[in-house]
């Protein structure tokens, strides 16, 4: 009986508050503006994803073009011989038969990371990390760090994506709706009537609060669903990633609602509530993330990438010197006759350089990755201080534009790079020329698209708990404040 009664006060509070909200034009404006901004952000995200896909397509087209040109030249060279009139010998770095040089550039394979199904949701790092990489036999420093062209001021400003709207704008609307429940009723005079009339005033007030926060949360969730449907297709709505996205947005909204209710439950005036909550918003969305990043960078500074390049250059110099020394010994032993020269000399020098550089650069890259991992771990751990930081990362993970997915991509490239080098350098060392069959058999970088669609973003449990736990604690404080509320 009492639970049924409780729910009737709660439901009455919710129903009548919803009725009042329906009649308030400002609330409609705020909700429509929020939904509108979310839809705009998704539209921008969709266009960015389209641009990325175009870049990948263009890189693949270029690869196909290059390879077909090389195969044509190869055919010409091979055909030229039977005709008796030998075709002019191309230099080694343009000779499609030269394994050492072809693998190092002209025949380079394109390794592409296609945008994930929900990539339109967050830009993440995808504007800095080009989606298509040209893998060569050289060391990693020569191909892995290519950049897409973009105005650095653009990159600094950041894009309008859903992650931005959800992390920064959405909480403001939730706060604006929820900050003033008890304080406003008290200042308006209706709190006295409510306390006097209701058997469980806190249930009625909780109902009112629910109506007030359900509106912006529902509006955002609907806008997200509509946007994903319109810009990415309805199949995305059925994916576990989308479900994860909805949960992230819901929990984040509930966190801010709980915070507003907890501050309201302190029983101070609406001016106090407003200023405190603005301060909390600034602290949680702006100051804390900035402080976290600065601290992590201070404690574990980023590695100097130029070390890789210098190591590769040092390796090439050492290889040259070693080569010169062995040539000198050879000349000493055999005299000028039989000294290898010309194109073969270039090829062998190049091979030696690549071998030496590869080993050193791999070691340095591993060290750098470890250094960055330490910085990232510290930032991740400190990130639990700010639900905004956690939510931003979670959304990037859902969109597949965070570093988790990119690191998996880099792992695949590492394995592919080894295969690629093996294919070309084994032939180069054996002195074998590339044939048409070799061109057909070259390793190709494929990506299992199905696994992208089906696999839900991993590692969301931590951030979700990191937002849910403070939310629950604040909700408890809020409930106690509401129970204790006085006129």
């Amino acid at each position: 009986m009492s639970s049924a009664f409780l729910s009737s006060a709660f439901l009455a509070g919710m129903r009548f508050e919803a009725r009042m909200m329906r009649r308030d034009g400002a609330i409609w404006f705020a909700l429509l503006a929020l939904a509108g901004v979310a839809l705009f952000a998704l539209a921008m995200g969709a266009s960015r994803v389209a641009a990325q896909q175009a870049a990948i397509a263009s890189a693949r087209a270029d690869e196909t073009q290059r390879l077909s040109n090389l195969q044509k030249t190869l055919a010409q060279l091979q055909q030229g011989e039977p005709q008796g009139k030998p075709a002019p010998e191309p230099p080694p770095y343009r000779d499609p038969r030269n394994a050492a040089f072809m693998g190092g550039g002209p025949a380079a394979a394109v390794a592409a990371l296609a945008p994930a199904p929900l990539a339109l949701v967050a830009t993440g790092q995808s504007d800095l990390l080009p989606p298509a990489v040209r893998v060569t036999t050289g060391s990693k420093d020569s191909f892995l760090f290519a950049d897409e062209i973009d105005n650095p001021a653009n990159l600094m400003s950041g894009a309008t994506d859903l992650a931005f709207v959800v992390v920064f704008v959405y909480p403001l609307v939730v706060l604006a709706m929820a900050f003033n429940l008890l304080a406003g009723e008290r200042e308006q005079g209706t709190l006295a009537m409510t306390l006097a009339s209701a058997r469980r005033p806190s249930a009625a007030l909780a109902g009112k609060l629910t109506a007030r926060v359900a509106a912006p949360i529902a509006a955002t969730l609907l806008a997200v669903a509509a946007g994903v449907w319109i810009f990415a297709g309805w199949e995305r709505l059925a994916s576990p990633g989308f479900a994860a996205l909805l949960i992230v947005v819901l929990l984040y909204g509930l966190f801010w609602a709980a915070l507003a209710a907890a501050v309201d439950g302190l029983g101070r005036g609406s001016a106090f509530n407003a200023l405190t909550l603005i301060g909390a918003w600034v602290a949680i969305t702006m100051i804390l993330p900035a402080a976290i990043n600065s601290l992590a960078a201070f404690a574990h500074p980023a590695p100097s990438r130029i070390e890789m390049v210098l190591a590769a250059r040092a390796a090439s110099t050492d290889a040259d010197r070693a080569r010169d020394a062995s040539l000198a010994r050879y000349a000493q032993e055999h005299g000028d006759a039989g000294k290898p020269g010309g194109p073969q000399e270039m090829t062998l020098r190049r091979l030696a350089t690549q071998e030496a550089a590869f080993q050193r650069v791999e070691a340095i890259v591993a060290e750098h990755d470890a250094q960055l991992a330490r910085q990232r771990d510290m930032a991740d751990r400190l990130g639990y201080l700010s639900p905004a930081y956690l939510t931003y990362q979670a959304m990037a993970d859902v969109a597949g534009s965070g570093e988790t997915r990119y690191r998996a991509f880099l792992d695949r490239i590492r394995a592919f790079h080894l295969d690629w080098r093996e294919f070309f350098l084994s032939r180069a060392k054996a002195g074998a020329s590339l044939t048409a069959q070799d061109y057909a058999a070259m390793p190709k970088f494929t990506q299992a698209d199905e696994e992208l669609m089906a696999r839900p973003p991993a590692g969301l449990a931590g951030p979700l708990i990191g937002v849910a736990l403070p939310m629950l604690i604040l909700a408890i404080f809020a409930w106690r404040g509401f129970r204790r509320c006085k006129v």
């Binding site: 009725r19 009042m20 005079g189 209706t190 006295a192 009537m193 009339s197 209701a198 058997r199």
Partner: protein
């Protein structure tokens, strides 16, 4: 019925208590009018019965239930009409009545609520208009309807006729008389000597937190009441 036993309230930082060992009883069917100047402790008494504040000593009992110990049970039996009946401006009079009735746990179908509004004297065409357009008298009538809908056994009123024109005040007095006849215990705080004489069965005059004198409403005429009131404060001021 309403009872105050040695009810005392001392606010922090104040030398004298706002309410000093108040003892009064309002049985069902009686209207007790509490008169007194500002700061005498009338509003404090009301707040203690409603448990908006806690007493320092003593008890405020509503139908035998201590308001400080079990406020929700006490409030379930007590209806309240404040000086300014604050309602939700965006809702209509009927919707406000529906809302406050529902959260009080009372069952009230729409027809019954409509008849309550009519019984309280609210004009029919105002039922579905937003409260932001109501006059003070109209809002007060909604307040009465809310009190009626809650089927409370006791009613506390704070300055009910302040700001009402004589006609509206008269209507109000008639309404209170009907409630009294139905067996409600009514505690009314007011400045209005005429209203006290008209509605009340007992009149109490408060000064400096104490009930200075109590007498039956019939025991004194208007002039006598006025003289008693002024004498009390002339001697207090002196």
């Amino acid at each position: 019925m309403l009872e105050a036993r040695n009810l005392t309230k001392r606010y922090d930082g104040a030398d004298a208590p706002a309410l000093d060992r108040l003892n009064l009883t309002v049985p069902g069917g009686e209207v007790f009018c509490l008169l007194g100047p500002n700061g005498a402790g009338k509003t404090t008494t009301v707040n203690l019965f409603l448990n908006f504040i806690d007493p320092t000593e003593g008890q405020a009992l509503v139908c035998g239930i201590d308001a400080a110990v079990d406020p929700s049970a006490a409030r379930a039996r007590l209806a309240y009409i404040p000086e300014q009946v604050m309602l939700y401006g965006a809702l209509t009079g009927l919707e406000n009545l529906q809302y406050f009735t529902e959260i009080s746990g009372a069952e009230a179908p729409r027809d019954e609520l409509l008849s309550l509004l009519a019984a309280a004297g609210l004009p029919r065409d105002a039922f579905e208009r937003p409260v932001s357009f109501y006059s003070k008298g109209m809002r007060q009538k909604v307040g009465v309807a809310i009190a009626l809908a809650r089927r409370a056994q006791a009613l506390v009123l704070d300055e009910p006729t302040s700001g009402l024109d004589p006609l509206a005040a008269n209507e109000f007095a008639a309404l209170i008389e009907r409630l009294r006849k139905d067996g409600m215990a009514v505690l009314m705080v007011t400045h209005d000597l005429f209203l006290a004489k008209q509605c009340g069965t007992k009149i109490g005059i408060m000064a400096q937190g104490r009930l200075a004198s109590v007498f039956g409403a019939d025991d004194v005429d208007h002039l006598g009441l006025e003289r008693a009131y002024l004498d009390l404060f002339a001697s207090a001021a002196a």
